[in-house]
């Protein structure tokens, strides 16, 4: 048997196409679960577009670094007027687009005008709404004037939706993206992979990789064998669930658990009886055992949260003790609400592992206090329509991945159907405050109100699970924004 395996393995080695070269590798295959619908980051909300192209192919005036900091990118430097309304950007010189054309101030004006224009299909049009005028001072200088001062403007310009494109190629970027980054687009085999190659004449430090392939691998079931067989060398952000254990034990791989901005909540329809009753929501909060949930749905990696706020944020306060796991208390509360015998409700789950697996666990936990949940798995299309748009749901599980998004609870008609004037007041004040200490204080108040109101079941902060070959260096550990920045990635010898 052993001998047989050796022979086969030798044969396999002979068949393998030259991967045994001794010099450090310069190619990398990364697995990602979702395929971008098209390749233009300025014309779609799909995170998968940014995950391939952000910082690699497309660059903005500023960019977000691995720790979430704002860094200069195509803008070398900038000055801000005293009233905080006028930004003057000094652009980098000698920058070329991948099609050979030069980058200058007119491209900046074109890109920002296109993003905020009437017919813009930019998914984050709101980012550009504060802009009043854009003025080309000279080919290397752009002056942007805002309607009102906005502390987060430089950060906003670092989003993938705000990258700079050229007028010549803007319309064809969906199929053949042309940017200014260190890698250029080579090929998109639809349904299979996207390949980038090193761009010549890049203005900054050239990348160590000659070729990077993003391979679409739909689920963990396919990702595990692909990783174990060496087809894929990195899964930068892949929910493997329980299967992670077998990869962790394997010295060939490095497993990095990072943070995300994803607050995973048991979304609750706050206007629909009996969920409009605070006691019922509190009972649910008491019935949830976060530890079991995190173990079962994320392989033990999520961080428990007690409100809608990311634990790594400086303004975070730990409110997980607001309604501790306590079945007796939960039953008591249900009884007070006049529902001693429990009730039936539905739980609509989008097609993501944490929701589908977490949903089964939540249903089992709520059954302990007599709440009988019918699980309804839905595809994203139906989730967006039924839950998010039509608010036709009782409970759902979803991760809210936008950074600093506690203000969604103040939005009119948001799908939680939550409306608390006290909370809205805090958010209004927050929008007008620029003093950091004061803002932190307001954030804390907001968190506390949501926790006390048990608006949603606050479950856990989604972990970012990155797995890559132990010899690969330079991939991001956290995901302050959705990106796979390859600019510093290399193979150790």
């Amino acid at each position: 048997m052993k001998q047989w395996k050796t022979i086969l393995a030798a044969a396999a080695l002979a068949l393998a196409s030259g991967t045994a070269a001794m010099a450090a590798r310069t190619d990398l295959v990364l697995g990602m679960p979702l395929e971008p619908p098209h390749l233009d980051p300025t014309a779609g909300a799909a995170a998968a577009i940014d995950e391939v192209f952000y910082a690699n192919v497309f660059e903005g005036l500023t960019r977000i670094g691995s720790r979430g900091e704002v860094l200069p990118d195509l803008a070398e430097s900038w000055t801000i007027s005293d009233d905080g309304k006028t930004y003057t950007f000094k652009l980098r010189s000698g920058v070329k687009f991948h099609d050979g054309s030069d980058f200058d101030a007119s491209d900046v004006k074109f890109s920002l005008d296109r993003a905020r224009g009437e017919s813009s299909v930019n998914a984050q049009k709101g980012l550009f709404a504060p802009i009043d005028t854009i003025e080309v001072v000279d080919p290397a200088t752009v002056k942007v004037t805002l309607k009102n001062p906005l502390g987060s403007f430089l950060y906003n310009l670092g989003w993938g939706d705000a990258v700079i494109v050229a007028p010549e190629s803007a319309e064809t970027n969906k199929e053949k993206p042309v940017g200014t980054g260190p890698l250029k687009f080579q090929n998109w085999a639809k349904g299979s992979s996207i390949t980038l190659v090193k761009a010549d004449g890049y203005w900054g430090d050239p990348v160590a990789l000659d070729k990077a392939e993003f391979r679409i691998i739909p689920d963990a079931a396919a990702a595990i064998p692909a990783l174990l067989s060496g087809d894929v060398q990195a899964l930068p952000n892949f929910a493997l669930g329980d299967a992670l254990a077998q990869v962790k034990a394997d010295p060939r791989f490095k497993v990095v658990i990072g943070t995300t901005e994803g607050e995973t909540v048991l979304s609750t329809n706050n206007k629909k009886p009996p969920f409009d009753n605070l006691k019922v929501r509190q009972a649910i909060a008491h019935a949830i055992d976060r530890k079991a949930l995190i173990d079962g749905a994320t392989g033990g990696l999520g961080t428990p949260i007690g409100s809608h706020f990311a634990p790594h944020n400086p303004a975070y306060i730990d409110l997980t003790g607001t309604y501790p796991h306590d079945i007796a208390k939960a039953k008591e509360l249900l009884k007070e609400a006049g529902l001693a015998d429990g009730f039936k409700a539905t739980l609509k789950l989008p097609p993501v592992g944490y929701a589908r697996q977490g949903g089964e666990i939540i249903a089992s936990q709520l059954r302990e206090i007599g709440i009988d949940l019918q699980i309804i798995p839905v595809e994203w299309a139906d989730w967006l329509k039924q839950v998010f748009t039509d608010k036709d749901y009782d409970l759902s599980i979803v991760s809210h991945t936008e950074p600093n998004d506690i203000d969604i609870y103040a939005r009119k008609d948001y799908y939680f159907n939550y409306d608390n004037p006290a909370f809205n007041k805090v958010i209004d004040e927050l929008n007008l405050t620029s003093d950091e200490a004061k803002r932190t204080e307001l954030y804390k108040q907001a968190q506390k109100i949501l926790a006390d109101d048990a608006v949603n079941g606050f479950l856990f902060e989604l972990p970012k699970v990155g797995i890559w070959d132990a010899k690969v260096e330079g991939l991001w550990e956290n995901s302050p924004i959705q990106a796979n920045d390859l600019t510093k990635v290399k193979w150790a010898d």
Binding site: A9, V121, S192, A381
Partner: protein, 315 residues
Amino acid sequence: MTIYLLKRLLIGIATLIVASLVVFLMLEVVPGDPARLMLGMNTSDAQVDLLREQMGLNQPLILRYLDWIRGLLRLDFGKSYTYSVPVIDLIRERLVVSFPLAVISLTLSTLIAIPVGLFAAARRGKAGDTAAMAVAQVGVAMPNFWFALLLVYVFAVWLRLVPAGGFPGWGNGIWPALKALILPALALALPQAAILARVTRAALIEVLNEDYIRTARAKGMPMRAVLWRHALRNAMIPVLTIMGLQFAFLLAGTIIIENVFYLPGLGRLVFQAIIQRDLIVVESVVMLLVAAVVLVNLIVDLSYALVDPRLRARQ
């Protein structure tokens, strides 16, 4: 003969027309709005409406159906919602994976099944027959996605002979592409081979019971010669019928198998399109598959006539 084939052809066309109606009507009741899905969670209704208009979703049903049919006839299937490229391009890209996959697995299954069927028929009732048919029974009963899973772990993860999934494209050489197709083809072929082997054996035994074969045997003609010269040819009708039916199974089977191996083929295209409500793609691919089935059945009808001169004379 000609009239017979002409009648089959007309039936085939009628089937296609009714099928197109069924497909179109069924997909019009799909819940979910593709425009909203494409734009994501944080977009305004106005933007969604704009896209609906651009995609022609606001037109009356009947116009959309007629437009669609007119397009189908000119091989212009429209534009995919999710990929925003012409569907025909997508199909062309996917066919270079799915078609070779179907051909390889059909070939594999035939190459396995016919010899096994001959072997079992020649040794009818003996140990060899019993063993071969027992294996075939297991093959028929095995869920192919489970078999695929076992293949992946043995040949890709453990032995590392072939990739665990994915497809490098034909541009990087024939051999890597073939290597990526071997396991899926095998997973598809085995259950089909098991069925085909059973049918072949049964058909052969049927023929062997005929008087003229008994006569030939009585005259001292060796079993092997009888099998090859007389029996196999006459047993071809049921075997061909099953192969025709299997082609449809094979096309559908690729949906599951292409998902296991994440091959960028037609099956995965249509599966993802169903999930993403990319109606145009679903409609086009389903129609293409239906057309393929109808065409294969026509070919099977034609080949009946070719292998069986009696049938030709009768018509």
